[in-house]
Symmetry: C2
Subunit: 117 residues, 2 copies
DNA sequence: TGACATATATAGGCGACCGATATATAATCC
DNA sequence: GGATTATATATCGGTCGCCTATATATGTCA
């Protein structure tokens, strides 16, 4: 079931979603793409070309920390850990998201704010 | 009250919101920025530099039609009308938006899909 | 006269995200 | 043995959404 989402609507929230995944425990990149796809019910297809630069930029900002660990087989994995500042940034982004989606809802459903319409 | 939203989260849905405004009747550009600000409870500050190019592109795609009308005073106003194709595109965008925000909700709230977590 | 609100318009730029491509390792299949 | 696929990370170049800055013209009010 491929419910591919219009890319123009998907912008901006990937950093929040990735950090949200890390809230539940340290993870490596490839794992995140899989988990995001599963948890979003196949809605988000986070690409490698998006994810890895995103993780690097989060690391630069001190929102995540990385460490390498060998896997049972294959290439060693680069795990990411959400820092304290990362948790703070995440909760801010969540608040922002909720305000944003509430506002969209208000416009779409025609809810007027105190002015009865 | 200035609840300015992080721009990186606001991307992508402006075309939908603008068409939604036009669903309630023909409007001119400046009017839309005011109404969007009001209907979103001061969350969306749609700028002229965003709106007018957006309206032009919607017109090119045949989703809206424009006509000029003189105002009681000041510059003549350019009204926009949502076409049939525009209404169709709008309802698609609304569906897309709802699927997207539902998916974000699922990730944020940790709702697993049938796999009990 | 000069500031401000109304009203539309474009150029230039920034940043998010993706496609294409490259890399290395291991398993599977023929 | 060779080809393909899955795992795993990485970068470059490009597209596209939105904004800042700027320009334009008109009317009002101090």
């Amino acid at each position: 079931m491929k419910r591919e989402i219009d890319r123009s609507l998907v912008s901006g929230s990937m950093a929040m979603l990735v950090m949200k995944l890390l809230e539940g425990g340290d993870k490596y990149g490839y794992e995140m793409t899989e988990e995001l796809r599963r948890r979003s019910d196949d809605t988000f297809h986070l690409k490698a070309g998006t994810l890895y630069p995103l993780l690097h930029s989060l690391e630069e900002k001190g929102l995540v920390e990385a460490y390498e660990r060998e896997a049972a087989a294959g290439k060693p994995r680069r795990y990411y850990h959400l820092t304290g500042r990362g948790r703070l940034a995440l909760s801010e982004k969540e608040e922002t998201w909720e305000a944003y989606s509430r506002a969209v809802y208000r416009v779409l459903k025609g809810v007027e704010c105190s002015a009865g319409a």
